[in-house]
Amino acid sequence: MSHEYVPEIAVDRDGKEHEVQGWQGDFYGGKLGFWLFMLTEVMMFGAMFLVLTYYFSLHPADFLEASSELNVLLGGTNTVVLLISALTMGLGLLKMRNGDIAGAKLMIWATIILALLFLGIKAVEWTNEYQHGVFLGLDALQSGNEHSKPFGQILFFGMYFTMTGLHGFHIIIGIGLMLWLLKRINAGKVSTEHHILHFNIALYWDLVHLIWVFVFPYFYMIGAGDVVGGVINAH
């Protein structure tokens, strides 16, 4: 912006001075704004979980059946990968605030690599599923042909691909943001004094993690192990 911000003072009737919150470079404002943005994500995934729960209650057996087909090992590895990436992200921010720019950059790189690892594992998983004929648009997930799975399973897998897909999309965006952040750090635009961008991207990454904290058990764990029988009976 062409205009340089000059802090301003408002004077009341008693001549007391009051600092005016500037409309630029407002750290707390930036943080608040970003939190609000994240709330919209919460509502968005919340609505998807609502859809999921709706159909879970209509087709419990199908859901557990379908869930048990997912690969808990790969999904679980990914959970741990994300967990660690949240740590590296947090440490990166800590280092940034502590003035250790190089360390911060290292941590961001580490996060990026973990994120790529996550995507790689996801890709393996999806490929496996594709080879088993379970994928959006394939016969098994279309009703009315001889390969069709039952409704409940179609819905489960449909939501599974939609939600993990959207989550993966968020990871990709996150990687993009981190690369951009590195560029800004190199350009000196993000620094220990001025790190709102880093702060918000770290928040974003935690949100991505947070969503996975629910996505993972909802899809992978509900039908894992011996529960299938147990819950079907309970219903």
Partner: protein
């Protein structure tokens, strides 16, 4: 510079360990205990993890305004769930309805005396 860099860093590791422990429980529970209520337990663990992440990684502790906005949003989602669940629970003529029972014929029939 942060004066308490060390303690903050140690804090991050502590949180990580906590989360790892919870994650482990997530993994083993369906194979080991309380098999009748896997879904509930899993979601409960998820909620605890989420709470930890929010409080410590996302620094919500001590944030009054932002904390309230988050609570408001989450409460709203919960209310949406609650009302829709009431509707589903009372879903009328469930047994006769096609979408709730996959045994019924999928194809179009003109004689629908079901």
């Amino acid at each position: 510079m942060l004066t308490n860099y060390k303690t903050l860093k140690a804090g991050y590791y502590k949180v990580l360990i906590g989360l790892l422990v919870l994650t482990t429980i997530t993994f083993v529970q369906p194979y080991m205990f309380m098999l009748d209520s896997t879904f509930g337990i899993q979601m409960l663990i998820g909620a605890v993890k989420a709470w930890i992440i929010l409080m410590y990684y996302m620094h919500l502790k001590g944030e009054k305004l932002i904390g309230w906005t988050v609570i408001f949003a989450v409460a709203l989602v919960v209310v949406f769930f609650a009302i829709v669940v009431v509707d589903v629970e009372h879903f009328q003529y469930k047994d006769a309805s096609h979408i709730t029972s996959q045994e019924l014929d999928v194809t179009h029939t003109t004689s629908h005396e079901k």
